[in-house]
């Protein structure tokens, strides 16, 4: 086989992308996997996994929230990382995946969890006291409607979100 052996460019002797970078696809793999488990119940109506639905979604959310941490630790200037959202370079996979992450976090996970927990949030906002009451009140977004029809609408919308979420999970993790 042709080629130079046993030589590395002098600048490449110190490897910059190592374990901190690898952690991100690992963690998003857990996120995507947990989400697919949840989607089995919601979209594919697999009754056997129904008890894991909420846990799977919360697992996905908690891991997604910590996924950027190793990346931030790896950066030379983590305080400049918002630049990726303000001036994303459209030819850069890293910048585009920053938006994929944001989409997945907000439009898929947070939305779906809110829809599923909304009834409990409204009830808790009415029964709890003190700071917790304020927190729950904010989370209701000012709407106390938990009528049967509104919950059916939530179900329907949640179904669509999960459906969109499955290809989004593929895009997040691959």
């Amino acid at each position: 086989m042709n080629g130079v052996e046993g030589f590395m460019y002098p600048n490449e002797i110190s490897l910059h992308w190592s374990v901190l970078i690898v952690l991100y696809p690992f963690i998003t793999g857990l996120v995507a996997g947990a989400f697919i488990l949840a989607s089995l119940e919601r979209v594919f109506r697999v009754e056997a996994v129904k008890p894991t639905y909420r846990l799977a979604l919360l697992t996905a959310l908690s891991f997604l929230l910590v996924a950027p941490l190793p990346l931030q630790l790896h950066l030379g200037h983590p305080e400049r990382s918002p630049e990726m959202y303000f001036t994303p370079h459209s030819t850069s996979a890293m910048a585009m995946f920053g938006y994929v992450y944001l989409w997945y976090l907000m439009a898929v996970l947070v939305f779906e969890i809110w829809l599923d927990y909304r009834r409990d949030i409204v009830l808790l906002s009415q029964t709890s006291r003190g700071l917790l009451r304020v927190v729950y009140k904010v989370m209701t977004l000012g709407s106390n409607n938990i009528s049967a029809r509104s919950l059916r609408i939530d179900e329907r919308v949640g179904w669509i979100v999960t459906l969109v979420g499955i290809p989004s999970a593929f895009m997040l993790h691959g």
Partner: protein
């Protein structure tokens, strides 16, 4: 379920929380856009997807090597002797090191060079160097004697032309 206009009002009432959620997204986007307008540098995007002022800042960095033309302004006699010899294309600072400080303030004298270590950097014999390139084994050739004892560095050939040029060391 009440039909007609009342039914539509009921739908709006039952899906109201979704519109509030959507409104949250819109507000978040507007806040993002406002912050962006404030944070993104003014010159960004002027020539391309980068901060154009960076070009100016990089070009304004300080220079360490003055360049041979700067030396020749004052040292024209040496430049003349050099251009007649073998080191014609060796620039001044290649041996003398960075000299912008001296060029800006000639009272700052450059460090005297030690030819025992300087010359061998180029002229030490090595099978890796072209055969036509002048190279010697320093120990055998000079036996510890500094190179400028016999060679005039500005015109190093040993054919009497250096002595004839008569420039001082």
């Amino acid at each position: 379920m009440p039909p007609g206009r009342l039914g539509r009002m009921n739908y709006f009432k039952d899906a109201g929380h979704l519109f509030r959620f959507a409104a949250l997204f819109v507000i978040a986007f507007l806040v993002f856009w406002a912050i962006r307008g404030y944070v993104v540098p003014r010159t960004f995007g002027q020539y391309g997807h980068y901060r154009a002022a960076a070009i100016t800042e990089i070009a304004a960095r300080s220079v360490q090597f003055a360049g041979h033309e700067a030396c020749e302004v004052c040292h024209s006699d040496i430049a003349g002797a050099k251009s007649a010899g073998k080191h014609a294309h060796v620039n001044c600072e290649a041996c003398h090191g960075p000299q912008t400080q001296h060029a800006a303030d000639p009272t700052i004298t450059p460090v005297k060079l030690d030819t025992t270590i300087l010359c061998v950097r180029c002229h030490a014999a090595s099978a890796a160097r072209p055969k036509s390139f002048p190279q010697v084994n320093a120990d055998e050739h000079a036996n510890g004697v500094p190179c400028d004892t016999c060679h005039q560095p500005h015109s190093p050939a040993m054919d009497g032309s250096a002595a004839a040029a008569g420039d001082a060391k």
